[in-house]
């Protein structure tokens, strides 16, 4: 196509007048002019250069594509009808190679039928200008195209900035998850008596479930909502988890744990962040649970037999809301029996909505419990009820449900757990008695000093005395002094036995008894571990005959060990029989 470009006189006039203002927006562009007519190219080039633009020239579509690749111009003015490759094809090719870069292509054409003009836009052109070219229009269209180009460039810059930012956030989130997993992972809900609906490591939802064991065979459970996701959830979860684990190991009580967690969260959490949680301690031996509920829905205690449901409502502020001085701590204590179940759950469970926007609610939850006929199925039934209530509606909030089954047999051996070396006694003492001390040692003095140290033992003086006196008497009389307990059976023998005891004691030149006491205690109770060892050859045979005689209920002697055993949680002798280990619990 060749057609003379006609510059009108009026246009020139206008050009010279308006150039300064118009040029503000679109000065110094790099423009690719594509036309197979040399004169057209020259005229356009002159006009553009006069406005301060840099001009590249192409004589057909193929050249245009090559020039575009090489020069990366800001804009293209494109003729349509050209040899080798026409303008439509060249435009498509340039747009394709530009990718995300925005290059305005303005078609310059003498064709004015609607179909042809529509095609200009359809192939990717951004505008068209008809020949003969009005310089005012050309300049205005150039400026408009340049505005869009700049806007596009700015958006693209922001976009890439945003995606870099997003990348970094994702990386940090993954980092937080790793930290969270490391810290929380070790204390996750892996106890056999606990079922939890959410994977405890699902940091993305911010819910936290922790389970720990105390030295006394108690189980601590924490269910909490960390508030926030990713890093902000980890900020709260990390100190809570650390404190939970450390204090569980030490066997500290719920109230103290709550105080410590609150203190730490006040110190670390940003203002306005808090941690709704429920902390629970189950004492299988005492048959009680201690529950501190700070801002989570009512905990349900479901009895194994009967329909009884006890609710333990939140009577506390969530953690991290106020300082310890302003915080009242209400810990509820409930009696539990083997087979009872406790349900802890997040807001998300009762807030689940159905298709009509109705909430599942506490009422429906408790109805599921009332309708339940097999407690073993209750956990599933609650989940099923929530799911079927929700129907097709998308889950809006995170749902956490924890079931704690009060069945001590599911816990890994409480006794074995208690004997792990990391267990630290609250206090202890060790007494070594040689020949000189054996006659003077008085079990009552030992009881007095124990009670002096541990006030809770005041009511245990009598049985404690009996246990210590019996084990000591056994060690001394049979182990060190080698007295035969058969002596005591006859009326005269009884006196003879104790005379003989005095005589041998006064003549004693060797032999010893060691007494070791360790006490593990907290506010709820404790254990005293008494170990008595003597220098004798062992009295295993004597101990065995003790039991047999005591069972007959009439023997005048040898009932000491079985009496002590009855008063203790456990009493055992080592194989040799010269070392006794008694555990007295309160």
């Amino acid at each position: 196509m060749s057609m003379q470009l006609q510059a009108k006189a009026g246009d020139n006039q206008a050009l010279s007048e308006q150039a300064p203002q118009q040029g503000e927006d679109s000065k110094g562009l790099s423009v690719l002019v594509v036309d197979d007519d040399e004169i057209n190219r020259a005229v356009l080039k002159a006009m553009l250069q006069k406005d301060g633009h840099t001009v590249h020239i192409a004589a057909n579509g193929a050249e245009a594509v090559a020039h575009y690749e090489a020069e990366q111009p800001d804009m293209v003015l494109m003729d349509i009808m050209m040899p080798v490759m026409d303008g439509y094809e060249a435009a498509q090719s340039i747009k394709a190679s530009a990718g995300l870069r925005f290059v305005p292509i303005i078609f310059v054409t003498a064709i004015i039928d609607d179909q042809a003009l529509a095609k200009c836009l359809a192939v990717g052109g951004d505008d068209f200008i008809t020949k003969p070219i009005s310089l005012v229009i050309l300049r205005a269209k150039l400026a408009a195209a340049d505005r869009i180009r700049r806007l596009y460039g700015a958006l693209a810059l922001q976009q890439s900035g945003l995606s870099a930012h997003h990348e970094r956030l994702r990386y940090e989130h993954e980092l937080a998850e790793q930290v969270f997993a490391k810290i929380v992972g070790n204390s996750s809900a892996n106890a056999a008596n606990i079922r939890a609906k959410l994977a405890p490591l699902a940091i993305t939802n911010g819910d936290l479930i922790l389970v720990g064991r105390t030295p006394h065979g108690r189980q601590n459970i924490l269910m909490g909502d960390c508030m926030g996701h990713g890093l902000s959830a980890a900020i709260g979860a990390i100190p809570v988890t650390d404190i939970f684990n450390a204090m569980s190991r030490k066997g500290l009580v719920v109230g103290d744990m709550v105080k410590e967690m609150n203190r730490k969260l006040r110190a670390t959490l940003p203002a306005g962040h808090f941690f709704a949680a429920c902390l629970m301690e189950w004492d299988p031996r005492g048959g009680v649970v201690h529950i501190w509920n700070g801002g989570v829905p009512d905990v349900l205690l479901v009895a194994e037999g009967g329909r009884a449901v006890t609710r333990i409502a939140s009577r506390n502020l969530a953690l991290g809301v106020v300082d310890n001085e302003e915080m009242d701590i209400h810990v509820e204590t409930c009696r539990v029996q083997r087979g009872d179940r406790l349900y802890l759950y997040s807001d998300g469970l009762v807030d689940v909505r159905d298709g009509a926007g109705l909430m599942f609610g506490q009422e429906r939850l408790e109805k599921v419990v009332r309708d339940n006929r097999d407690r073993r199925r209750l956990f599933e039934e609650i989940n099923e009820a929530v799911e079927s209530f929700r129907g097709d509606r998308a889950q809006e909030d995170d749902i956490t449900l924890v079931e704690v089954l009060c069945d001590e047999s599911l816990l890994d051996g409480a006794e074995a757990h208690g004997e792990k070396p990391r267990r630290q006694p609250s206090c202890g003492m060790s007494i070594k008695l040689g020949p000189g001390g054996l006659g003077h040692f008085d079990p009552l003095n030992l009881v007095d000093s124990l009670v002096g140290g541990i006030a809770a033992l005041e009511n245990h003086r009598t049985p404690l005395y009996t246990v210590i006196a019996e084990l000591y008497a056994n060690a001394l009389e049979h182990g060190v002094l080698k007295l035969d307990c058969a002596l005591k059976k006859a009326p005269e023998g009884f006196a003879h036995y104790y005379d003989e005891r005095e005589r041998r004691l006064s003549e004693l030149t060797e032999g010893w008894v060691n007494i070791d006491i360790e006490i593990f205690s907290n506010d709820a109770g404790g254990e005293l571990i008494l170990q008595i060892e003597d220098s004798g050859q062992g009295f295993a045979a004597v101990a065995a005959s003790d039991t047999a005689q005591a069972d007959s209920g009439v023997a005048a002697s040898g009932r000491g060990i079985s009496l002590a055993r009855s008063l203790c949680k456990s009493l055992a002798h080592d194989a040799r029989g010269n070392r006794a280990r008694a555990v007295y619990a309160w």
């Binding site: 003086r461 005395y465 009326p491 009884f494 104790y498 005048a556 009496l563």
Partner: protein
């Protein structure tokens, strides 16, 4: 201080034996004297436990020996006024089956 106090009501044939706070082998001599070599007939021995706070198996043994003696002489032994902790220890030792405990 005496480890044990013994009072006798000869007319009614009742001997009351009251150990102190601590009832153990240290009392055995005096305890035994309370019933050995009695001239009159004793139909009833009362072990008054109201002061006793600490007890061991030698005390249980002494009470069993007293019971043997009393039974042989057609008498009874009553263990009286026990503190709850002491009562519990006696129960563990199955003394309910052998003695009247009140």
């Amino acid at each position: 201080m005496e480890m044990i106090t013994v009072t006798e009501n000869e007319k009614e044939g009742v001997v009351t034996i009251a150990p102190r706070k601590r009832f153990d082998f240290g009392a055995h001599r005096k305890f035994r004297e309370s019933y050995k070599n009695k001239k009159g007939t004793v139909s009833r021995y009362v072990i008054d436990m109201k002061e006793v706070e600490y007890i061991d198996s030698s005390a249980l043994g002494m009470m069993l020996l007293l019971r043997e003696h009393a039974t042989a002489n057609k008498g009874v032994v009553v263990i009286a006024y026990c503190k709850p902790e002491i009562r519990k220890i006696l129960a563990i030792a199955n003394f309910d089956r052998l003695f009247e405990i009140k």
